[in-house]
Protein backbone atom coordinates (compact mmCIF):
# COMPACT_ATOMS: atom_id res chain seq x y z
CA UNK A 1 0.00 0.00 0.00
CA UNK A 2 1.37 3.39 -0.99
CA UNK A 3 1.59 5.69 2.02
CA UNK A 4 -0.06 8.95 1.04
CA UNK A 5 0.89 12.05 2.98
CA UNK A 6 -1.79 13.19 5.39
CA UNK A 7 -3.14 16.68 4.83
CA UNK A 8 -6.05 18.61 6.31
CA UNK A 9 -8.15 16.90 3.65
CA UNK A 10 -7.32 13.60 5.33
CA UNK A 11 -9.74 11.85 7.66
CA UNK A 12 -8.27 10.30 10.79
CA UNK A 13 -10.10 7.29 12.14
CA UNK A 14 -9.29 6.21 15.69
CA UNK A 15 -9.96 2.55 16.34
CA UNK A 16 -9.65 -0.37 13.94
CA UNK A 17 -12.65 -2.41 15.00
CA UNK A 18 -15.65 -2.94 12.78
CA UNK A 19 -16.77 0.67 13.24
CA UNK A 20 -13.37 2.17 12.56
CA UNK A 21 -12.70 -0.10 9.58
CA UNK A 22 -16.12 0.72 8.18
CA UNK A 23 -15.70 4.48 8.60
CA UNK A 24 -12.22 4.31 7.04
CA UNK A 25 -13.28 2.14 4.10
CA UNK A 26 -16.50 3.97 3.32
CA UNK A 27 -14.61 7.27 3.28
CA UNK A 28 -11.77 5.84 1.20
CA UNK A 29 -14.15 4.23 -1.27
CA UNK A 30 -15.73 7.66 -1.67
CA UNK A 31 -12.32 8.95 -2.68
CA UNK A 32 -10.97 10.34 0.58
CA UNK A 33 -7.56 9.73 2.12
CA UNK A 34 -7.73 8.08 5.52
CA UNK A 35 -5.32 7.32 8.32
CA UNK A 36 -6.59 4.46 10.49
CA UNK A 37 -5.10 4.22 13.97
CA UNK A 38 -5.39 1.00 15.98
CA UNK A 39 -3.88 0.41 19.41
CA UNK A 40 -3.63 -3.36 19.02
CA UNK A 41 -1.16 -5.09 16.69
CA UNK A 42 -3.98 -6.18 14.37
CA UNK A 43 -7.28 -4.77 13.13
CA UNK A 44 -10.66 -6.33 13.80
CA UNK A 45 -11.43 -5.19 17.31
CA UNK A 46 -13.93 -6.84 19.56
CA UNK A 47 -16.10 -8.34 16.83
CA UNK A 48 -13.15 -10.39 15.63
CA UNK A 49 -13.21 -11.99 19.09
CA UNK A 50 -16.81 -13.12 18.66
CA UNK A 51 -17.61 -16.64 17.53
CA UNK A 52 -20.90 -15.89 15.82
CA UNK A 53 -23.20 -12.94 15.23
CA UNK A 54 -26.85 -12.77 16.16
CA UNK A 55 -29.35 -13.25 14.66
CA UNK A 56 -27.92 -15.00 11.60
CA UNK A 57 -25.38 -17.03 13.55
CA UNK A 58 -22.87 -16.22 10.84
CA UNK A 59 -19.20 -15.70 11.59
CA UNK A 60 -17.80 -12.21 12.19
CA UNK A 61 -14.49 -13.02 10.51
CA UNK A 62 -16.41 -13.58 7.28
CA UNK A 63 -17.22 -9.88 7.14
CA UNK A 64 -13.74 -9.11 8.42
CA UNK A 65 -12.30 -10.98 5.44
CA UNK A 66 -14.28 -8.77 3.07
CA UNK A 67 -13.23 -5.60 4.87
CA UNK A 68 -9.62 -6.71 4.85
CA UNK A 69 -9.79 -7.33 1.13
CA UNK A 70 -11.31 -3.91 0.61
CA UNK A 71 -8.38 -2.56 2.62
CA UNK A 72 -5.76 -4.52 0.67
CA UNK A 73 -7.13 -3.14 -2.58
CA UNK A 74 -7.41 0.45 -1.40
CA UNK A 75 -4.25 2.56 -1.28
CA UNK A 76 -6.18 5.45 0.21
CA UNK A 77 -6.22 3.91 3.67
CA UNK A 78 -3.03 4.07 5.65
CA UNK A 79 -3.07 1.76 8.66
CA UNK A 80 -1.09 2.38 11.84
CA UNK A 81 -1.17 -0.45 14.35
CA UNK A 82 0.12 -0.46 17.94
CA UNK A 83 -0.70 3.22 17.75
CA UNK A 84 -2.62 5.48 20.10
CA UNK A 85 -3.68 9.09 19.79
CA UNK A 86 -2.10 11.17 22.54
CA UNK A 87 -3.12 14.64 21.45
CA UNK A 88 -5.28 16.62 19.07
CA UNK A 89 -4.43 20.26 18.29
CA UNK A 90 -6.29 22.75 16.13
CA UNK A 91 -9.93 22.72 15.13
CA UNK A 92 -12.40 21.52 12.52
CA UNK A 93 -10.77 21.26 9.11
CA UNK A 94 -7.31 21.67 10.51
CA UNK A 95 -6.21 19.22 13.19
CA UNK A 96 -2.73 18.09 14.07
CA UNK A 97 -2.93 14.74 15.78
CA UNK A 98 -0.11 13.27 17.80
CA UNK A 99 0.13 9.50 17.59
CA UNK A 100 2.34 7.31 19.74
CA UNK A 101 3.41 4.13 17.95
CA UNK A 102 4.68 1.27 20.09
CA UNK A 103 7.47 -0.92 18.74
CA UNK A 104 6.39 -4.23 17.18
CA UNK A 105 10.02 -5.38 16.90
CA UNK A 106 9.05 -6.94 13.58
CA UNK A 107 9.32 -5.07 10.29
CA UNK A 108 7.53 -5.40 6.95
CA UNK A 109 9.92 -8.17 5.89
CA UNK A 110 7.90 -10.57 8.03
CA UNK A 111 6.29 -13.32 5.98
CA UNK A 112 4.34 -14.76 8.92
CA UNK A 113 6.23 -18.02 8.42
CA UNK A 114 6.23 -18.60 12.16
CA UNK A 115 9.89 -19.51 12.67
CA UNK A 116 10.32 -16.93 15.44
CA UNK A 117 7.28 -18.29 17.24
CA UNK A 118 8.74 -21.77 17.20
CA UNK A 119 12.11 -20.50 18.43
CA UNK A 120 10.79 -18.50 21.37
CA UNK A 121 10.08 -20.33 24.64
CA UNK A 122 8.39 -17.71 26.83
CA UNK A 123 4.61 -17.91 27.04
CA UNK A 124 2.52 -14.82 27.74
CA UNK A 125 -1.20 -14.24 28.33
CA UNK A 126 -3.24 -14.05 25.16
CA UNK A 127 -5.43 -10.94 25.29
CA UNK A 128 -7.23 -12.02 22.14
CA UNK A 129 -8.63 -14.85 24.26
CA UNK A 130 -9.22 -12.54 27.24
CA UNK A 131 -6.21 -14.17 28.87
CA UNK A 132 -8.05 -17.48 29.18
CA UNK A 133 -5.05 -18.96 27.40
CA UNK A 134 -1.44 -18.14 26.62
CA UNK A 135 0.62 -17.82 23.48
CA UNK A 136 4.30 -17.53 22.58
CA UNK A 137 5.97 -14.19 23.21
CA UNK A 138 6.57 -14.02 19.45
CA UNK A 139 3.12 -14.36 17.97
CA UNK A 140 0.63 -13.64 15.24
CA UNK A 141 -2.19 -11.82 17.09
CA UNK A 142 -4.78 -14.15 15.58
CA UNK A 143 -5.44 -16.32 12.53
CA UNK A 144 -7.09 -13.44 10.66
CA UNK A 145 -4.53 -10.89 11.76
CA UNK A 146 -4.13 -7.89 9.48
CA UNK A 147 -1.41 -6.81 9.02
CA UNK A 148 -0.37 -10.45 8.78
CA UNK A 149 2.81 -9.83 10.69
CA UNK A 150 4.25 -11.24 13.89
CA UNK A 151 4.75 -9.28 17.11
CA UNK A 152 7.31 -9.62 19.86
CA UNK A 153 6.02 -9.17 23.39
CA UNK A 154 8.04 -6.40 25.09
CA UNK A 155 8.50 -8.78 28.03
CA UNK A 156 11.19 -10.72 26.18
CA UNK A 157 13.10 -7.78 24.76
CA UNK A 158 16.63 -7.96 26.06
CA UNK A 159 16.29 -11.62 26.94
CA UNK A 160 17.85 -14.65 25.30
CA UNK A 161 14.41 -15.41 23.87
CA UNK A 162 14.50 -12.23 21.83
CA UNK A 163 17.87 -13.22 20.42
CA UNK A 164 16.50 -16.68 19.64
CA UNK A 165 13.66 -15.08 17.71
CA UNK A 166 16.05 -12.83 15.82
CA UNK A 167 18.32 -15.76 15.00
CA UNK A 168 15.39 -17.85 13.79
CA UNK A 169 14.20 -15.25 11.26
CA UNK A 170 15.79 -15.79 7.87
CA UNK A 171 14.39 -12.58 6.48
CA UNK A 172 15.78 -9.94 8.77
CA UNK A 173 12.27 -9.14 9.85
CA UNK A 174 13.08 -8.88 13.54
CA UNK A 175 14.42 -5.54 14.73
CA UNK A 176 15.08 -5.55 18.45
CA UNK A 177 16.14 -1.91 18.44
CA UNK A 178 12.73 -0.56 17.49
CA UNK A 179 11.69 2.26 19.80
CA UNK A 180 8.35 3.88 20.53
CA UNK A 181 7.95 6.77 18.12
CA UNK A 182 5.69 9.78 18.16
CA UNK A 183 4.34 11.00 14.85
CA UNK A 184 2.17 13.93 13.89
CA UNK A 185 -0.69 13.47 11.46
CA UNK A 186 -2.62 16.28 9.80
CA UNK A 187 -6.33 15.74 9.50
CA UNK A 188 -9.41 17.73 8.61
CA UNK A 189 -11.74 15.55 10.63
CA UNK A 190 -11.51 12.77 13.20
CA UNK A 191 -13.80 9.77 13.57
CA UNK A 192 -13.56 8.41 17.09
CA UNK A 193 -14.43 4.71 16.91
CA UNK A 194 -12.69 3.25 19.93
CA UNK A 195 -15.54 0.88 20.72
CA UNK A 196 -16.39 -0.60 24.08
CA UNK A 197 -15.06 -2.65 26.92
CA UNK A 198 -16.87 -5.27 28.98
CA UNK A 199 -17.86 -3.93 32.38
CA UNK A 200 -15.52 -5.18 35.11
CA UNK A 201 -17.51 -8.19 36.36
CA UNK A 202 -15.52 -8.35 39.60
CA UNK A 203 -17.35 -5.20 40.69
CA UNK A 204 -20.63 -7.14 40.71
CA UNK A 205 -19.79 -8.67 44.08
CA UNK A 206 -22.86 -10.88 44.64
CA UNK A 207 -21.89 -12.88 41.55
CA UNK A 208 -18.37 -13.67 42.78
CA UNK A 209 -16.62 -13.39 39.42
CA UNK A 210 -13.48 -12.71 41.43
CA UNK A 211 -14.06 -15.71 43.72
CA UNK A 212 -15.55 -18.48 41.57
CA UNK A 213 -13.65 -19.93 38.60
CA UNK A 214 -16.84 -21.12 36.94
CA UNK A 215 -18.41 -17.69 36.77
CA UNK A 216 -17.26 -16.13 33.51
CA UNK A 217 -18.31 -13.25 31.28
CA UNK A 218 -20.20 -13.37 27.99
CA UNK A 219 -17.18 -12.19 26.03
CA UNK A 220 -15.07 -14.94 27.55
CA UNK A 221 -17.75 -17.45 26.64
CA UNK A 222 -17.42 -16.40 22.98
CA UNK A 223 -13.80 -17.49 23.11
CA UNK A 224 -14.74 -20.86 24.60
CA UNK A 225 -17.08 -21.54 21.68
CA UNK A 226 -14.61 -20.35 19.06
CA UNK A 227 -12.44 -22.86 17.22
CA UNK A 228 -9.55 -20.38 17.54
CA UNK A 229 -10.18 -20.10 21.29
CA UNK A 230 -8.31 -21.59 24.24
CA UNK A 231 -10.38 -24.78 24.24
CA UNK A 232 -10.43 -25.18 20.46
CA UNK A 233 -14.14 -24.52 20.46
CA UNK A 234 -15.10 -26.98 23.21
CA UNK A 235 -17.29 -25.60 25.98
CA UNK A 236 -15.30 -26.68 29.01
CA UNK A 237 -15.45 -24.91 32.34
CA UNK A 238 -12.33 -23.25 33.73
CA UNK A 239 -12.12 -24.88 37.17
CA UNK A 240 -11.69 -28.49 36.09
CA UNK A 241 -12.05 -28.65 32.30
CA UNK A 242 -15.33 -30.52 32.76
CA UNK A 243 -17.86 -30.25 29.92
CA UNK A 244 -20.19 -27.39 30.81
CA UNK A 245 -23.63 -28.61 29.76
CA UNK A 246 -25.92 -26.88 32.22
CA UNK A 247 -25.24 -23.20 31.76
CA UNK A 248 -26.83 -20.15 33.35
CA UNK A 249 -26.89 -16.80 31.58
CA UNK A 250 -27.38 -13.81 33.85
CA UNK A 251 -28.68 -10.70 32.13
CA UNK A 252 -28.03 -7.10 33.14
CA UNK A 253 -24.72 -8.02 34.75
CA UNK A 254 -23.77 -4.42 35.41
CA UNK A 255 -26.30 -2.83 33.07
CA UNK A 256 -29.53 -1.09 34.12
CA UNK A 257 -28.03 -0.85 37.59
CA UNK A 258 -27.35 2.40 39.41
CA UNK A 259 -24.63 0.67 41.40
CA UNK A 260 -22.85 -0.04 38.10
CA UNK A 261 -23.96 1.10 34.62
CA UNK A 262 -27.07 3.29 34.44
CA UNK A 263 -27.79 2.45 30.81
CA UNK A 264 -29.05 -0.67 29.10
CA UNK A 265 -26.28 -2.15 26.96
CA UNK A 266 -28.75 -3.34 24.32
CA UNK A 267 -26.75 -6.29 22.99
CA UNK A 268 -26.61 -8.55 26.05
CA UNK A 269 -30.05 -10.15 25.72
CA UNK A 270 -29.44 -11.07 22.10
CA UNK A 271 -25.91 -12.21 22.91
CA UNK A 272 -27.19 -14.63 25.54
CA UNK A 273 -29.97 -15.89 23.27
CA UNK A 274 -27.27 -16.49 20.67
CA UNK A 275 -25.03 -18.23 23.17
CA UNK A 276 -27.74 -20.72 24.08
CA UNK A 277 -27.24 -21.87 20.50
CA UNK A 278 -23.56 -22.57 21.26
CA UNK A 279 -24.66 -24.83 24.10
CA UNK A 280 -27.11 -26.68 21.88
CA UNK A 281 -24.48 -26.92 19.14
CA UNK A 282 -21.89 -28.37 21.52
CA UNK A 283 -24.26 -30.71 23.42
CA UNK A 284 -27.27 -31.49 21.23
CA UNK A 285 -28.31 -34.33 23.53
CA UNK A 286 -28.16 -32.86 27.01
CA UNK A 287 -27.15 -29.22 26.74
CA UNK A 288 -29.27 -26.99 28.95
CA UNK A 289 -29.45 -23.20 29.13
CA UNK A 290 -31.19 -21.03 31.69
CA UNK A 291 -31.60 -17.31 31.09
CA UNK A 292 -32.23 -15.15 34.16
CA UNK A 293 -33.61 -11.81 32.95
CA UNK A 294 -35.57 -8.68 33.85
CA UNK A 295 -36.85 -7.80 30.39
CA UNK A 296 -35.77 -9.63 27.23
CA UNK A 297 -34.80 -6.89 24.84
CA UNK A 298 -34.97 -8.62 21.48
CA UNK A 299 -35.67 -5.41 19.62
CA UNK A 300 -37.26 -5.17 16.14
CA UNK A 301 -36.61 -8.10 13.78
CA UNK A 302 -34.55 -9.82 16.48
CA UNK A 303 -37.86 -10.79 18.09
CA UNK A 304 -38.07 -13.71 15.64
CA UNK A 305 -34.79 -15.02 16.99
CA UNK A 306 -36.12 -14.72 20.54
CA UNK A 307 -39.25 -16.64 19.59
CA UNK A 308 -37.13 -19.40 18.05
CA UNK A 309 -35.08 -19.73 21.22
CA UNK A 310 -38.23 -19.65 23.37
CA UNK A 311 -39.54 -22.61 21.39
CA UNK A 312 -36.38 -24.56 22.20
CA UNK A 313 -37.04 -27.02 25.06
CA UNK A 314 -33.38 -26.92 26.11
CA UNK A 315 -33.67 -23.24 27.03
CA UNK A 316 -35.39 -22.09 30.19
CA UNK A 317 -36.34 -18.46 30.89
CA UNK A 318 -36.64 -17.18 34.45
CA UNK A 319 -37.76 -13.60 35.06
CA UNK A 320 -35.46 -12.77 37.89
CA UNK A 321 -32.37 -10.79 38.71
CA UNK A 322 -30.23 -13.39 40.43
CA UNK A 323 -29.60 -12.23 44.01
CA UNK A 324 -26.31 -13.98 44.59
CA UNK A 325 -24.12 -16.85 43.49
CA UNK A 326 -22.46 -19.32 45.82
CA UNK A 327 -20.31 -22.34 45.04
CA UNK A 328 -21.16 -25.89 46.08
CA UNK A 329 -18.73 -28.64 47.04
CA UNK A 330 -18.42 -29.78 43.39
CA UNK A 331 -17.35 -26.33 42.27
CA UNK A 332 -20.74 -25.71 40.72
CA UNK A 333 -21.91 -22.11 40.85
CA UNK A 334 -25.33 -21.97 42.53
CA UNK A 335 -27.80 -19.23 41.62
CA UNK A 336 -30.07 -17.94 44.39
CA UNK A 337 -33.11 -15.84 43.75
CA UNK A 338 -36.81 -15.58 43.19
CA UNK A 339 -38.73 -16.07 39.97
CA UNK A 340 -40.85 -12.94 40.04
CA UNK A 341 -43.56 -14.49 37.93
CA UNK A 342 -45.36 -16.33 40.69
CA UNK A 343 -42.63 -15.96 43.33
CA UNK A 344 -40.92 -19.32 43.10
CA UNK A 345 -37.74 -19.31 45.13
CA UNK A 346 -34.83 -21.10 43.51
CA UNK A 347 -31.39 -22.34 44.53
CA UNK A 348 -30.07 -23.84 41.34
CA UNK A 349 -26.63 -25.29 40.67
CA UNK A 350 -25.16 -24.94 37.17
CA UNK A 351 -21.96 -26.20 35.56
CA UNK A 352 -21.09 -22.71 34.47
CA UNK A 353 -22.49 -19.22 34.90
CA UNK A 354 -22.10 -16.70 32.09
CA UNK A 355 -22.53 -13.07 33.09
CA UNK A 356 -23.97 -11.00 30.24
CA UNK A 357 -21.70 -8.09 31.10
CA UNK A 358 -22.62 -4.58 30.11
CA UNK A 359 -21.02 -2.33 27.58
CA UNK A 360 -18.80 0.47 28.77
CA UNK A 361 -17.55 2.93 26.19
CA UNK A 362 -13.80 2.64 25.77
CA UNK A 363 -13.66 6.42 25.88
CA UNK A 364 -14.83 6.31 29.49
CA UNK A 365 -11.92 7.28 31.64
CA UNK A 366 -9.85 7.87 28.53
CA UNK A 367 -9.43 11.59 28.26
CA UNK A 368 -10.06 12.31 24.60
CA UNK A 369 -7.71 15.14 23.75
CA UNK A 370 -9.70 18.35 23.38
CA UNK A 371 -12.51 17.37 25.79
CA UNK A 372 -15.53 15.82 24.07
CA UNK A 373 -19.17 16.07 25.08
CA UNK A 374 -20.29 12.70 26.43
CA UNK A 375 -23.42 11.42 28.18
CA UNK A 376 -23.60 10.25 31.79
CA UNK A 377 -22.33 6.83 30.75
CA UNK A 378 -19.38 8.24 28.85
CA UNK A 379 -20.69 7.71 25.32
CA UNK A 380 -19.77 10.49 22.91
CA UNK A 381 -22.82 12.61 22.13
CA UNK A 382 -23.46 14.35 18.83
CA UNK A 383 -22.68 17.94 19.76
CA UNK A 384 -21.45 20.93 17.80
CA UNK A 385 -18.97 21.57 20.60
CA UNK A 386 -17.10 18.48 19.41
CA UNK A 387 -16.04 20.30 16.26
CA UNK A 388 -15.02 17.83 13.60
CA UNK A 389 -14.47 14.97 16.04
CA UNK A 390 -17.30 12.51 15.47
CA UNK A 391 -18.16 9.55 17.65
CA UNK A 392 -18.90 6.33 15.79
CA UNK A 393 -20.09 2.88 16.78
CA UNK A 394 -19.98 1.88 20.43
CA UNK A 395 -17.91 4.89 21.38
CA UNK A 396 -21.11 6.85 20.74
CA UNK A 397 -23.79 4.51 22.04
CA UNK A 398 -24.52 0.95 23.17
CA UNK A 399 -25.03 -0.62 19.75
CA UNK A 400 -25.12 -4.00 18.06
CA UNK A 401 -22.84 -4.56 15.07
CA UNK A 402 -25.46 -3.66 12.49
CA UNK A 403 -26.19 -0.32 14.15
CA UNK A 404 -22.51 0.31 14.82
CA UNK A 405 -21.83 0.02 11.10
CA UNK A 406 -24.67 2.43 10.31
CA UNK A 407 -23.29 4.84 12.86
CA UNK A 408 -19.77 4.53 11.44
CA UNK A 409 -21.02 5.10 7.90
CA UNK A 410 -22.88 8.20 9.05
CA UNK A 411 -19.78 9.44 10.89
CA UNK A 412 -17.75 8.94 7.73
CA UNK A 413 -20.10 11.25 5.84
CA UNK A 414 -19.89 13.92 8.54
CA UNK A 415 -16.11 13.74 8.26
CA UNK A 416 -16.29 13.92 4.46
CA UNK A 417 -18.46 17.03 4.69
CA UNK A 418 -15.69 18.73 6.65
CA UNK A 419 -12.82 17.78 4.34
CA UNK A 420 -14.90 18.64 1.27
CA UNK A 421 -15.36 22.14 2.70
CA UNK A 422 -11.61 22.33 3.20
CA UNK A 423 -11.02 21.17 -0.36
CA UNK A 424 -13.49 23.76 -1.70
CA UNK A 425 -11.85 26.50 0.29
CA UNK A 426 -8.44 25.53 -1.03
CA UNK A 427 -9.58 25.10 -4.61
Amino acid sequence: MTEHVATNETILVVGGGISGMTAALEAAETGKNVVLVEKNPALGGRTSQLYRYFPKLCHPICGLEINQRRLKNNPRVRVLTLAEVSGIEGDAGNYTVTVKVKPRYVNENCTACGDCGRAVETMVDDPFNYNLGQHKAAYLPNAMAYPQRYVLDPAIIGSADADRAKAACKYGAIDLDMQEETIQVKAGAVVWATGWQPYDAAKIQPYGYDRFKNVITSVEFERLADIHGPTGGKILRPSDGKEAKNIAFIQCAGSRDENHLRHCSRICCMASLKQTHYVREAYPEDGKSTIYYIDIRAIDRFEDFYQKVQADPSVNFIKSKVAKITEDEHGNPVCHGVNTEGYKRYTTPHDLVVLAVGMEPSVKGVNIPGHIVADSSGFIEADPANGAVFGAGCASNALDVNRAVQSATAAALRAIQVVNKVAKAEA
Binding site: V322, A323, K324, H336, G337
Partner: protein, 210 residues
Protein backbone atom coordinates in the same frame (compact mmCIF):
# COMPACT_ATOMS: atom_id res chain seq x y z
CA UNK B 1 -71.87 -2.15 42.37
CA UNK B 2 -69.55 -2.78 45.30
CA UNK B 3 -67.77 -5.45 43.29
CA UNK B 4 -67.51 -2.96 40.48
CA UNK B 5 -65.98 -0.30 42.69
CA UNK B 6 -63.63 -2.89 44.09
CA UNK B 7 -62.36 -3.49 40.59
CA UNK B 8 -62.39 0.22 39.93
CA UNK B 9 -60.24 0.88 43.00
CA UNK B 10 -57.77 -1.69 41.82
CA UNK B 11 -54.91 -0.57 39.62
CA UNK B 12 -55.79 3.00 40.45
CA UNK B 13 -52.95 4.98 41.95
CA UNK B 14 -54.89 5.99 45.11
CA UNK B 15 -53.15 3.56 47.42
CA UNK B 16 -49.76 4.31 45.87
CA UNK B 17 -50.39 7.98 46.61
CA UNK B 18 -51.51 7.14 50.17
CA UNK B 19 -48.26 5.21 50.72
CA UNK B 20 -46.21 8.07 49.32
CA UNK B 21 -47.85 10.49 51.74
CA UNK B 22 -47.96 8.34 54.86
CA UNK B 23 -44.98 5.99 54.74
CA UNK B 24 -41.35 6.79 55.42
CA UNK B 25 -39.56 6.49 52.03
CA UNK B 26 -42.94 5.58 50.52
CA UNK B 27 -42.30 7.76 47.48
CA UNK B 28 -39.67 5.23 46.36
CA UNK B 29 -42.23 2.48 45.77
CA UNK B 30 -42.97 3.67 42.23
CA UNK B 31 -39.30 3.33 41.26
CA UNK B 32 -39.21 -0.46 41.52
CA UNK B 33 -38.61 -2.22 38.20
CA UNK B 34 -39.65 -5.65 39.41
CA UNK B 35 -36.28 -7.37 39.04
CA UNK B 36 -36.77 -9.41 42.21
CA UNK B 37 -33.28 -9.06 43.62
CA UNK B 38 -34.70 -7.95 47.00
CA UNK B 39 -36.96 -10.97 47.31
CA UNK B 40 -34.04 -13.19 46.43
CA UNK B 41 -31.70 -11.47 48.86
CA UNK B 42 -33.97 -11.53 51.90
CA UNK B 43 -32.88 -14.21 54.37
CA UNK B 44 -36.22 -14.74 56.03
CA UNK B 45 -38.09 -14.64 52.74
CA UNK B 46 -35.75 -17.32 51.59
CA UNK B 47 -36.90 -19.42 54.50
CA UNK B 48 -40.34 -18.99 53.00
CA UNK B 49 -41.48 -16.74 55.80
CA UNK B 50 -42.80 -13.92 53.64
CA UNK B 51 -46.30 -14.15 52.27
CA UNK B 52 -45.48 -11.24 49.97
CA UNK B 53 -41.78 -10.37 49.51
CA UNK B 54 -40.77 -6.71 49.08
CA UNK B 55 -41.03 -6.48 45.30
CA UNK B 56 -44.44 -8.12 45.29
CA UNK B 57 -45.60 -5.67 47.96
CA UNK B 58 -44.51 -2.81 45.69
CA UNK B 59 -46.51 -4.27 42.83
CA UNK B 60 -49.52 -4.84 45.11
CA UNK B 61 -49.36 -1.22 46.21
CA UNK B 62 -49.42 -0.11 42.56
CA UNK B 63 -52.28 -2.52 41.99
CA UNK B 64 -54.22 -0.88 44.83
CA UNK B 65 -54.36 -3.98 47.05
CA UNK B 66 -54.62 -1.89 50.24
CA UNK B 67 -56.23 -4.46 52.51
CA UNK B 68 -53.80 -7.26 51.60
CA UNK B 69 -50.74 -5.08 52.00
CA UNK B 70 -51.58 -3.52 55.33
CA UNK B 71 -52.78 -6.71 56.97
CA UNK B 72 -49.98 -9.01 55.85
CA UNK B 73 -47.36 -10.13 58.35
CA UNK B 74 -44.71 -10.01 55.65
CA UNK B 75 -42.79 -6.84 56.43
CA UNK B 76 -42.61 -7.88 60.07
CA UNK B 77 -40.15 -10.57 58.99
CA UNK B 78 -37.54 -7.97 58.12
CA UNK B 79 -34.33 -8.53 60.10
CA UNK B 80 -32.81 -5.22 58.92
CA UNK B 81 -29.94 -7.05 57.27
CA UNK B 82 -29.81 -4.45 54.45
CA UNK B 83 -29.03 -7.04 51.76
CA UNK B 84 -31.89 -5.75 49.62
CA UNK B 85 -30.74 -2.15 49.91
CA UNK B 86 -27.19 -2.73 48.74
CA UNK B 87 -28.24 -4.96 45.83
CA UNK B 88 -31.22 -3.03 44.49
CA UNK B 89 -30.33 -1.77 41.00
CA UNK B 90 -32.66 1.15 41.53
CA UNK B 91 -31.23 2.00 44.97
CA UNK B 92 -34.59 1.73 46.71
CA UNK B 93 -34.19 1.96 50.52
CA UNK B 94 -36.17 -1.25 50.82
CA UNK B 95 -35.41 -2.01 54.47
CA UNK B 96 -36.76 1.39 55.48
CA UNK B 97 -39.78 1.06 53.20
CA UNK B 98 -40.59 -2.27 54.87
CA UNK B 99 -40.28 -0.68 58.30
CA UNK B 100 -42.32 2.24 57.06
CA UNK B 101 -45.19 0.14 55.75
CA UNK B 102 -45.14 -1.91 58.95
CA UNK B 103 -45.25 1.24 61.05
CA UNK B 104 -48.15 2.56 58.99
CA UNK B 105 -50.07 -0.69 59.27
CA UNK B 106 -49.40 -0.61 63.00
CA UNK B 107 -50.50 3.02 63.22
CA UNK B 108 -53.76 2.17 61.44
CA UNK B 109 -54.18 -0.84 63.69
CA UNK B 110 -54.39 -3.08 60.64
CA UNK B 111 -51.22 -5.05 61.31
CA UNK B 112 -51.82 -8.63 62.50
CA UNK B 113 -52.54 -8.46 66.23
CA UNK B 114 -50.52 -11.48 67.27
CA UNK B 115 -47.50 -10.81 65.11
CA UNK B 116 -44.71 -11.37 67.66
CA UNK B 117 -42.22 -9.02 66.04
CA UNK B 118 -44.82 -6.29 65.90
CA UNK B 119 -45.31 -6.77 69.62
CA UNK B 120 -41.60 -6.90 70.37
CA UNK B 121 -40.90 -3.85 68.23
CA UNK B 122 -43.37 -1.79 70.20
CA UNK B 123 -42.12 -3.23 73.44
CA UNK B 124 -38.55 -2.38 72.56
CA UNK B 125 -39.32 1.21 71.69
CA UNK B 126 -41.30 1.77 74.91
CA UNK B 127 -38.57 0.09 76.91
CA UNK B 128 -35.82 2.16 75.29
CA UNK B 129 -37.58 5.50 75.41
CA UNK B 130 -39.00 5.12 78.92
CA UNK B 131 -35.64 5.73 80.56
CA UNK B 132 -33.61 6.57 77.48
CA UNK B 133 -31.81 3.25 77.66
CA UNK B 134 -32.78 -0.36 77.04
CA UNK B 135 -33.41 -2.57 80.03
CA UNK B 136 -32.70 -5.99 78.58
CA UNK B 137 -34.19 -7.99 81.43
CA UNK B 138 -37.50 -6.12 81.46
CA UNK B 139 -37.50 -6.33 77.70
CA UNK B 140 -37.21 -10.11 77.70
CA UNK B 141 -39.68 -10.53 80.55
CA UNK B 142 -42.13 -8.28 78.76
CA UNK B 143 -41.82 -10.47 75.71
CA UNK B 144 -42.28 -13.73 77.59
CA UNK B 145 -45.31 -12.49 79.44
CA UNK B 146 -47.03 -11.01 76.40
CA UNK B 147 -49.42 -13.95 76.31
CA UNK B 148 -50.20 -13.81 79.98
CA UNK B 149 -48.61 -15.05 83.19
CA UNK B 150 -48.71 -18.80 82.62
CA UNK B 151 -47.33 -18.59 79.11
CA UNK B 152 -44.73 -16.18 80.46
CA UNK B 153 -43.50 -18.73 82.97
CA UNK B 154 -43.41 -21.34 80.20
CA UNK B 155 -41.42 -19.06 77.93
CA UNK B 156 -39.20 -18.15 80.83
CA UNK B 157 -38.51 -21.83 81.54
CA UNK B 158 -37.75 -22.40 77.89
CA UNK B 159 -35.24 -19.59 78.00
CA UNK B 160 -33.93 -20.49 81.43
CA UNK B 161 -30.72 -22.08 80.18
CA UNK B 162 -29.96 -19.09 78.02
CA UNK B 163 -30.71 -16.65 80.79
CA UNK B 164 -28.67 -18.56 83.33
CA UNK B 165 -25.74 -18.66 80.96
CA UNK B 166 -25.90 -14.92 80.61
CA UNK B 167 -26.28 -14.36 84.32
CA UNK B 168 -23.23 -16.56 85.00
CA UNK B 169 -21.32 -14.58 82.39
CA UNK B 170 -22.44 -11.40 84.15
CA UNK B 171 -24.22 -10.31 81.00
CA UNK B 172 -27.67 -10.37 82.54
CA UNK B 173 -28.33 -8.70 85.87
CA UNK B 174 -31.41 -9.72 87.87
CA UNK B 175 -31.19 -6.43 89.73
CA UNK B 176 -32.19 -4.76 86.47
CA UNK B 177 -35.79 -5.59 87.34
CA UNK B 178 -35.49 -2.93 89.97
CA UNK B 179 -34.35 0.34 88.43
CA UNK B 180 -31.42 -0.50 86.19
CA UNK B 181 -29.73 1.67 83.63
CA UNK B 182 -31.34 4.93 82.75
CA UNK B 183 -30.60 8.42 81.41
CA UNK B 184 -30.46 11.32 83.82
CA UNK B 185 -32.52 13.72 81.75
CA UNK B 186 -35.50 11.46 81.18
CA UNK B 187 -37.85 14.43 81.33
CA UNK B 188 -36.00 16.13 78.50
CA UNK B 189 -36.09 12.99 76.43
CA UNK B 190 -39.82 12.55 76.91
CA UNK B 191 -40.54 16.17 76.02
CA UNK B 192 -38.28 15.97 73.02
CA UNK B 193 -39.98 12.84 71.70
CA UNK B 194 -43.43 14.22 72.36
CA UNK B 195 -42.55 17.21 70.24
CA UNK B 196 -41.11 15.03 67.52
CA UNK B 197 -44.35 13.05 67.29
CA UNK B 198 -46.35 16.25 67.09
CA UNK B 199 -44.27 17.63 64.26
CA UNK B 200 -44.36 14.36 62.34
CA UNK B 201 -48.13 14.12 62.63
CA UNK B 202 -48.65 17.70 61.45
CA UNK B 203 -46.31 17.12 58.49
CA UNK B 204 -48.24 14.05 57.36
CA UNK B 205 -51.63 15.76 57.56
CA UNK B 206 -50.10 18.67 55.65
CA UNK B 207 -48.95 16.28 52.92
CA UNK B 208 -52.43 14.82 52.53
CA UNK B 209 -53.90 18.31 52.34
CA UNK B 210 -51.32 19.57 49.83
Amino acid sequence: MSANTAVAAKYRNNFLKEIEEQVEMGDWVKMCMQCGVCSGSCPTNFQGAWEHPPQELFMMIRAGKREEVLTTSSMWNCTSCYNCIVRCPRKLPITHIMHGIAEYAHRLGMAPKLQPTRFFSGLFWKNATKTGRVNELKLSMGLYFKDGFVQGIKNGMAMQAVALGLVKAKRLNVMELFGGHKCKDQKGIQAMLKKAYEIERSRKTARIAG
